[in-house]
Symmetry: C2
Subunit: 325 residues, 2 copies
């Protein structure tokens, strides 16, 4: 079923995140009647929500996805709900106990709360991590999950998302709860936090240039990523809520491959610097190695939702870097 | 590191299961000093352990993998430990909440207990479900996980095993806890319980023949499975404990494909019946559809452990059916 956002009450678990803050803005722009931001880090130092906190249509709940009773209470009367609450690969590496709880039990609590409150449709933030990271080229939704050789925390994160999608499928089959699972590629943009291992590289590079130090390239700089701008992601979630489509997963991605070398070049240009990067040995941090030419095909999102990315990488990077200045 | 079973103290989580009961017997035959069977269903009606319960070297603990303090206490002084405790696909379908808890949090508790007790080596019961079920032909360990089109509870189960393996890898990397993950194909044998959707088909067929009813074949009977005899599985676990190998996963399988049609023919022969099977429409139960010619290549287990299956399917089926009579 589709949810008409104008006039609707919507809950966003993990709503104080990078994607969450942009989604709140998107839903308010589409005239949502009430947006419940359910997140334990609402009042953290990043203050990702900023002035959105003062909008009278926004309710702030310092909510814990592990507390079923709290989740149920705050989802009451919601027309739709979005689950963005998750630990990522770095989190799995640093704190596997909480990561497992939040990503799996937290998601079950989200689905159960939605079912009990007869929420019309839910959106699950999945990830391109469900494919593993070892393959290059274009990856579409029917491709298998290649994990051999991938760092353990990254596979643990990816498998938590595989399981999250399957739990959605089970709630659809058993309780007819409509859902869409959106597999985000590497999300970046204003409000970028320090928990995302991949997009953080943009900020690292910027900060080095600001200090007059050369950016660092690991290996030969040919490793590639598929970045998607956070505003495009927020729009995809809104369109998924308003779509009639249900019971499927789709890539929400930039759909293009960029090497780390080219990325560093773009950031250097935006900053107006001429410092050349230095090439480094791999440093053993939790980074997600990806195949050459890696990108996630987003044709299904276009066919099903009418969505495609609109903000080019150069423009998105300019916005992110302006916000840091 | 390797564990010498003779003289050792070993804990088996889920030790009252099909595999567990054969493993207890195997470890006692190899002169283990003490075997702690840690399982909440120790005293259930199946009584899978039978007279093994009376062996003075066997300690029975009605243990819950979700109780970390209990796990820690009972693993004290253990040289090795084996985690067989898990819900399978049927369990994920019927009770996803407990399935998620036991398969993931329970496994984390197992690893943490082993770390705190300085257990020398642990064995994790993984599954060929990590590959999904959609592909035919021979599947070796470096192959990806193909889940598109597979029933949700089966993928949820498989992804719980993917995550379990990754948690082992993380404990190896962070705490140097040695482990091997064994990916069992469809396990069958005496003590077969009613929670295994695939092997249960053997018992269903046998019981229909006993009642003078024709066995049922779903679809065209060409669906194939790779069965492995439970005694061979128990031996693989013992050999894995005693091996120097660590930090890897391997298939423990029959290594051969058999169609359901051929399987029903073998059972009919063993029973001495001449009743012909009937062909049925798919009935929508949670069954794991598999590709034609599906089998799991067990060359790595031979190379690493020196293990290969020894009991042919016809012999294993005779043993299982004798135990039912």
């Amino acid at each position: 079923m589709s949810i008409k956002i104008a006039g609707a009450k919507l809950l966003i678990a993990g709503g104080a995140s990078l994607v969450g803050s942009h989604l709140v803005r998107e839903l308010l722009a589409r005239e949502a009647a009430r947006v419940v931001v359910y997140d334990p880090v609402l009042f953290d130092r990043n203050d990702s929500l900023g002035p959105l906190k003062d909008d009278p249509r926004v309710s702030l709940v310092s909510g814990d996805v592990l507390k079923l009773h709290q989740f149920i209470a705050h989802m009451e009367g919601c027309d739709g709900a979005v689950n963005l609450a998750a630990y990522m690969s770095l989190g799995f590496s640093q704190n596997p106990w909480d990561a497992v709880d939040v990503n799996i039990k937290g998601h079950l609590n989200f689905l159960e709360s939605a079912r009990l409150n007869k929420v019309g449709k839910v959106i699950f933030a999945s990830s391109s991590a469900v494919y593993g990271f070892g393959i290059g080229g274009g990856i579409s939704e029917d491709m298998p999950h290649k994990t051999e050789g991938v760092p353990a925390p990254a596979v643990a994160y990816g498998s938590s998302k595989i399981m999250g999608e399957q739990l959605c499928r089970m709630y659809k089959q058993t309780h007819d709860l409509d859902y869409l699972a959106l597999r985000f590629s590497t999300v970046y943009g204003e409000g970028q936090h320090h928990r995302a291992a991949n997009a953080l590289y943009i900020i690292d590079t910027y900060e080095r240039l600001q200090r007059g130090e050369p950016p660092q390239l690991f290996g030969d700089g040919s490793e590639s990523k598929d970045f998607v701008y956070v505003g495009d992601v927020a729009r995809a979630i809104a369109m998924a809520l308003e779509s009639d489509a249900t019971d499927q997963a789709m890539n929400i991605s930039g759909g293009r491959s960029i090497t780390t070398k080219a990325l560093v070049g773009m950031i250097t240009d935006i900053v107006g610097s001429d410092i050349e990067p230095v090439y480094m040995e791999e440093d053993g941090r939790v980074r997600l190695k990806t195949g050459k030419g890696l990108h996630y095909v987003n044709a299904r999102a276009l066919a099903v939702l009418g969505w495609q990315p609109e903000v080019p990488l150069a423009e998105g990077l300019r916005r992110l870097i302006s916000s840091l200045a």
